[in-house]
């Protein structure tokens, strides 16, 4: 399986020749000319052209929707006609209305915006060529990661430029609410999905029929974010399965011969929303999407955001990927239009595929020199960053060391050998002047000045202030976590258990994967492969010797080992804080709304008292992940009856999890964990 999706040579410095700067041409020729270019794409073979209105009509007339309509009418006692009207309304709110004219308008506007924001936008031509081919043969699903609002239309923009059919895009409903912009997006191919659909049966039915109709017809390539939403932490998110299932179902049910998935990795040197995101994680609410907000945000347009890379992955055949994972005969005995709960087999297959796609996105993303530096900055004591300053010399040396390690581990680095290394690092720091500044051979963390203006700030406010900068740093570190996470888990296992027994380390490795399953992306059922990979990579950097039974430390690789272990330390510390809160201080039953500020207060207190060394415990993302992980481990349960999403905590179980994590319970004792996999 490993060879079916991985690029043969995924490691190393990225070959610059493969990437073309699409802004280059825009800077030399007319923007209007580009927007008005002849657009003559080759669509999917069998697809007859179909207007948005025809698509909607087909959806409303679909047998599946008729079944559901009737069912709901029966359940609610309303008439079929009423339910049908409601379905019409949902569809109207949802549907896209792709029009070439608006693509042109979008093209024109984006050219202007992109030229101002970015020095260059690199796109890999090889990937585009393969995509062009694939689009003619099967329905295509474009699956980019989502790190910034800026990338919402970037794919459409690129495809328009290269004469490939522009996609319809699944978007969150808040975007539709923006005056004018919502309508422009709709006409540029966006369709809008409500958040938290929950158990609204009719909504699910309309949405899934809509999605499936697009795939079946090969109406246009479909673009959606398998992570569900924009990652606030720049880290990959656990994939959402609903949409993925809808997209795959036409293949499962034989309605199309094959579907092509194209993972796309978008990476930024610098993300526009960096500061906004950090504050959001600290509990400052995200501003509502509004057109006014967008206009106000135009001041961010004044700054430089470096380069953006759009890496189109190799098109993947669903048919090939799912071979042996799905028995399509399971749909033989019930009409395919009938609403049916997906089988466990189908769910597992969808989940596996979704995780796989995220992993491929990760592997395809480009890591900037700044990410390496951010990683190292975070490992320096906080007082060094805020007060003494980190020696530039020390940082650069270490960065070059890390660069080598990352390359050994197969990362794609955006670090061409052309410019001198010192220049590369200097310009990275210069680009990120909002986070760090360099003075007299030392590097300091930038503290927000706005807050420091008049009155003296409180200690707690000071913590938040530093935390914002730390979380920004952390987000850039997060961009490369996937490169190191597997060996880092093993390094952590070695560090905590002090064991050399391979099976014990494996047990603990599994425990960590389970615990951090919302933090990092692991493909289900690949535990032992992940462990093998981790062993191999640790061996590669000389950190361990590996035999049949044992994993023993070597003196050669202590630097790498301690780096890897330090990489995960903030997560472990943060998790422990929350375990402590839940098992000692908190109440038995709580809501998420109560939980977040309470742990934030505890963490702040611990930071001030010097007990806690990481500011990442303040991130609401980490806090939510802990909650999800504990629910998965069944140490926390959601109360079904509760209206306000209340949780009930099993304090003993939480305490035990904390004890395992701190090494108090040796790995031999782990057999009794609720997770059967261990």
């Amino acid at each position: 399986m490993t060879n079916t999706y991985r690029d043969s040579g995924r490691a190393g410095l990225v070959d610059e020749r493969q990437f073309v700067d699409i802004l280059e041409e825009r800077r030399h020729s007319s923007d209007l000319g580009h927007a008005l270019r002849t657009f003559n794409p080759h669509p999917y073979q069998g697809a007859a052209p179909c207007s948005a209105a025809e698509l909607n009509k087909a959806v409303l007339e679909a047998q599946y929707l008729r079944y559901v309509t009737k069912e709901i009418a029966m359940e609610t006692g309303s008439s079929v006609e009423e339910v049908r009207k409601e379905a019409c309304g949902i569809l109207e709110e949802m549907s896209q209305n792709l029009q070439l004219g608006f693509i042109r308008l979008m093209g024109y506007t984006l050219t202007k915006v992109f030229k101002r924001l970015f020095t260059s936008i690199f796109v890999n031509m090889e990937g585009l060529n393969m995509l062009q081919q694939a689009i003619q043969e099967t329905p295509v699903i474009l699956m980019p990661n989502h790190r910034s609002y800026v990338d919402f239309l970037i794919i459409s923009y690129i495809l328009f430029t290269y004469d490939i059919p522009v996609p319809v895009i699944a978007a969150g409903i808040p975007l539709a609410g923006m005056k004018m912009v919502g309508e422009i997006l709709r006409r540029s191919g966006a369709f809008f999905i409500r958040r938290a659909i929950g158990s609204d049966k009719l909504y699910w039915a309309v949405l899934s029929e809509y999605v499936k109709a697009i795939v079946r017809k090969g109406y246009a390539p479909m673009e959606f974010y398998v992570e569900g939403l924009r990652s606030r932490t720049l880290k990959s998110l656990t994939p959402k399965l609903g949409m993925m299932h809808m997209v795959l179902e036409p293949y499962f049910k034989g309605e199309v011969f094959d579907i092509t998935l194209v993972p796309i990795s978008i990476s930024y040197d610098r993300v526009l929303e960096e500061s906004l995101l950090a504050h959001e994680l600290l509990g400052v609410p995200k501003p509502k999407e509004s057109t006014m907000g967008l206009l106000k945000a135009s001041k961010v347009l004044q700054e430089d955001y470096g380069t953006m890379h759009v890496n189109f992955g190799r098109p993947l055949s669903v048919r090939q990927l799912c071979h042996g994972k799905i028995n399509r005969c399971q749909y033989n005995l019930i009409p395919r239009d009938l609403p049916q709960k997906p089988t466990a087999e189908a769910q597992a297959c969808v989940s596996w595929l979704a995780h796989l796609m995220v992993r491929i996105q990760e592997e395809g993303s480009l890591i900037s020199p700044w990410s390496l530096m951010a990683c190292l900055l975070l490992q320096a004591p906080i007082t060094v960053l805020t007060e003494e300053g980190l020696l530039w010399q020390q940082l650069t040396e270490k960065t070059l060391w890390l660069r080598k390690l990352a390359l050994d581990y197969g990362a794609r680095l955006n670090w061409s050998g052309q410019a001198p290394d010192s220049d590369v690092m200097s310009s990275a720091v210069a680009l990120h002047c909002s986070i760090v500044h360099r003075k007299a051979g030392r590097v300091y963390l930038v503290q927000e000045e706005e807050l420091a203006r008049k009155r003296p700030i409180s200690l707690e406010e000071g913590v938040t202030r530093t935390a914002a900068a730390v979380l920004m740093l952390a987000s850039y570190r997060n961009q490369l976590l996937h490169v190191f996470v597997r060996p880092a888990l093993l390094a952590t296992a070695i560090h905590i258990t002090k064991s050399t027994q391979r099976n014990e380390l494996f047990t603990f490795f599994c425990f960590l994967q389970d615990l951090f399953s919302y933090e990092f992306i692991f493909i289900p059922d690949k535990l032992s492969q992940d462990f093998e990979e981790a062993c191999l990579l640790l061996k590669k950097c000389g950190a361990v010797h590996i035999s049949q039974q044992e994993v023993t430390l070597s003196d050669m690789g202590l630097e790498a080992l301690s780096f890897l272990q330090a990489l995960l330390q903030p997560f472990i510390d943060s998790y422990q804080v929350m375990f402590r809160y839940l098992s000692e201080e908190g109440v038995n039953v709580f809501t998420e709304k109560q939980f977040l500020p309470a742990v934030r207060n505890l963490a702040t207190k611990l930071i001030l008292s010097g007990e806690l060394h990481t500011y990442e415990a303040l991130s609401s993302d980490t806090q939510k992940n802990v909650l999800s992980a504990l629910r998965r481990l069944e140490a926390v349960t959601k109360l079904r009856a509760s209206e306000q999403n209340e949780y009930k905590v099993n304090k003993a179980a939480v305490r035990r999890t904390g004890d395992i994590l701190s090494g108090k319970i040796p790995p031999q004792m782990l057999q009794t964990t609720p997770d059967a996999r261990l």
């Binding site: 034989g254 011969f257 005969c329 749909y331 009409p335 395919r336």
Partner: protein, 619 residues
């Protein structure tokens, strides 16, 4: 009135091919009296064998060839197209397969008897058989002839002069009682019997199991070919099971009747074979499939003779024992006599055809026809590739006027009506019955077709469509002379799956060929050949140019295997009428469930505990 058997007793000889069409059916295949092919004096059983190919389809004298000018023509004196030039075939052949007339792969011309394994004989059995007076043979040619059906791998091996396990001897029972004696002797001496009818199997059903160590005896039913009586009051005929389709129809026609059962293989396949495989006929919409036509069956098994006590048209007497017999594929016994329904010959017959802008519209039309239950005797929908294939088989037109007319029609359809020549497809129709009703029926069907964008396209096109059926097997032999191998296979599928299965299976074939190193895209085409209330029968044709492949038959088998998996994954059945044989055995369990397998197995265990009928089909 009851005819007695003697009137119909015939000696097997060469019956010129005949399709029981009425006077005005402008036949592609013509009734021809063959001079100089009289029955020889010596044992009658060799006649059929003498006039048929030993390593290809059909009559020895009938074959396609490319003449010196590179034009295709058909030899022999049996079919109407003899001597006609088929100008389009060469181009179609070369373009479709990337084949070239320069690259030939001729078959081994003569059967080399010394390459055939010497027979393993059960002396005691042979001795006792001799005393019964039933003719038998241990001649290599006779044995090879009955060692195969018409699967690609079987014919391919024969063309290369390769023989696997073949039967050790052949017996020719003359009547039911002869069969009883043979089966008794076989049971007594533990000899393996393989019933042989027309030899047109395409499921490896006739292949001798290589692991069989006992003496294998091929039981050839061809001498049991009499119509024993015709009951005009009840409209039934009692017929010996070895009779071949065309003879049965011709003989019944002489007294104004027909069975109406016309499988594509009816020139050669036998009544017993139909029963043993659950055959289906082209005109089943009027006459029904074999299970609808059969009133009474007599079968000889190792446990004795099985038959019902009366001829009631329907019975509620537990599970119908006929359904253990039909589809048993020679694993339980030999069908010796069958009572079948007969019908007065239809007064009027008319072909027709409809062109649709695309296959989707065509399928929608067939579905509607089935919904209204107004399907004509036959209705078939060919996809675009097959339409082009049929077009390539058009004989040279005689006059400039006809070719002008053809041009005009083409112009009308493609330019005036805007049909895309690379998407359009055609349905062929055959109506049968009273003249008035036929015309009325025809109008009804054409009206439905019009709703789906269908345009009536004339009788000629319809007729040519049906002709394709009869020549396709001869064409395969032509292809095999030039590096092209191919096969057809079928399935049945619910209506809502028809389009999906057609698309997916065709695409799967193309993809598999590509992945297995086939240099040129294969011919991958389908047609919907039968309609039912709840679904349809779909036929796939698949052929490719195997130049550059070291083991073409293996590649072929892998692709066919993949195509079958695709059919099953798309809700299609394992087989609509070809049967399972040994070729599709591996999927039987998932097809009928564990319990189903157990049921069938326990029947086999009771009826034939010593596996005398050891062809190992089905289970």
């Amino acid at each position: 009135m009851l005819y007695i058997s003697t009137k119909y007793q015939i000696i097997r000889k060469d019956f010129p091919f005949y399709l029981g069409k009425t006077a005005h059916g402008g036949l592609w295949v013509q009734i021809k009296n063959l001079p100089g092919h009289l029955p020889k004096e010596s044992p009658s059983h060799v006649f059929l064998q003498e006039i048929m190919k030993w390593n290809g389809w059909g009559y020895s004298d009938s074959r396609f060839l490319f003449n010196k000018k590179g034009q295709a023509e058909f030899t022999g004196k049996r079919y109407i197209i003899i001597g006609m030039i088929i100008p389009g075939l060469k181009d179609w052949f070369e373009c479709t397969f990337g084949a070239s007339l320069q690259h030939k792969t001729p078959a081994t011309p003569l059967l080399n008897s010394s390459a055939v394994q010497p027979p393993t004989l059960n002396e005691a059995f042979v001795e006792e058989l001799k005393s019964t007076g039933i003719p038998f043979s241990q001649d290599a040619e006779d044995r090879v002839f009955r060692a195969h059906g018409h699967c690609l791998h079987e014919i391919f091996a024969l063309r290369e002069g390769k023989f696997g396990r073949v039967p050790d001897m052949v017996v020719w029972p003359n009547c039911h009682n002869d069969v009883v004696k043979i089966v008794e002797l076989a049971s007594k001496h533990n000899v393996c019997l393989i019933p042989y009818g027309g030899g047109t199997s395409v499921s490896s059903a006739l292949e001798c199991p290589p692991e069989e160590t006992r003496s294998i005896v091929s039981l050839d039913t061809s001498q049991m070919n009499r119509i024993l009586w015709v009951d005009e009051k009840n409209l039934t005929a009692h017929v010996e099971a070895g009779i071949v389709g065309q003879d049965l129809e011709r003989l019944l026609n002489e007294s104004g009747y027909c069975t109406g059962h016309e499988p594509d293989s009816m020139e050669f396949s036998s009544l017993g074979g139909w029963v043993a495989t659950r055959a289906s006929g082209m005109k089943k919409n009027i006459y029904g499939n074999i299970e609808d036509l059969v009133v009474h069956i007599k079968m000889v098994t190792p446990q004795g003779v099985i038959e019902k006590s009366c001829q009631g048209p329907r019975m509620s007497t537990g599970p119908d024992i006929h359904h253990f017999i039909m589809g048993s594929e020679g694993t339980l016994g030999v069908v010796t006599e069958v009572t079948m329904k007969i019908r007065p010959m239809p007064e009027y017959q008319k072909y027709g055809s409809v062109v649709f802008p695309n296959f989707e519209q065509g399928v929608a039309c067939l579905r509607e026809v089935a919904r209204q239950r107004c399907a004509p005797a036959s209705i078939r929908l060919m996809d675009n590739e097959q339409f082009k294939f049929g077009h390539a088989l058009k004989p040279q037109v005689s006059s400039i006027f006809t070719s002008f007319l053809d041009g005009l029609k083409k112009f009308y359809i493609t330019k005036f009506k805007g049909f895309d020549p690379n998407r359009l497809c055609v349905a062929t129709l055959l109506f049968e019955g009273d003249r008035e009703k036929v015309l009325q029926h025809e109008k009804q069907v054409y009206d439905i077709a019009a709703k789906f964008g269908g345009l009536a396209a004339g009788e000629d096109n319809g007729q040519r469509g049906y002709m394709l059926t009869f020549v396709i097997a001869y064409l395969r032999d032509l292809g095999m002379d030039y590096y092209v191998i191919g096969e057809s296979f079928e399935t049945s599928v619910p209506w809502d799956r028809v389009l999906d299965i057609c698309r997916n299976v065709k695409a799967r074939i193309v993809r598999e060929c590509k992945e297995r190193g086939v240099q040129f895209p294969p011919l991958s085409t389908c047609r919907v050949t039968q309609t039912y209330d709840a679904g349809a029968c779909v036929y796939f044709y698949f052929a490719f140019n195997y130049r550059g492949l070291s083991d073409p038959v293996h590649v072929y088998e892998q692709v066919e295997h993949a195509a079958r998996e695709e059919i099953l994954a798309n809700g299609g059945s394992l087989s609509h009428h070809h049967g399972v044989g040994k070729l599709r055995k591996e999927w039987m369990r998932e097809t009928v469930s564990n319990v189903g397998m157990g049921m069938l197995k326990s029947v086999k265990d009771y009826v034939d505990p010593n596996n005398i009928f050891g062809n190992r089909n089905l289970l």
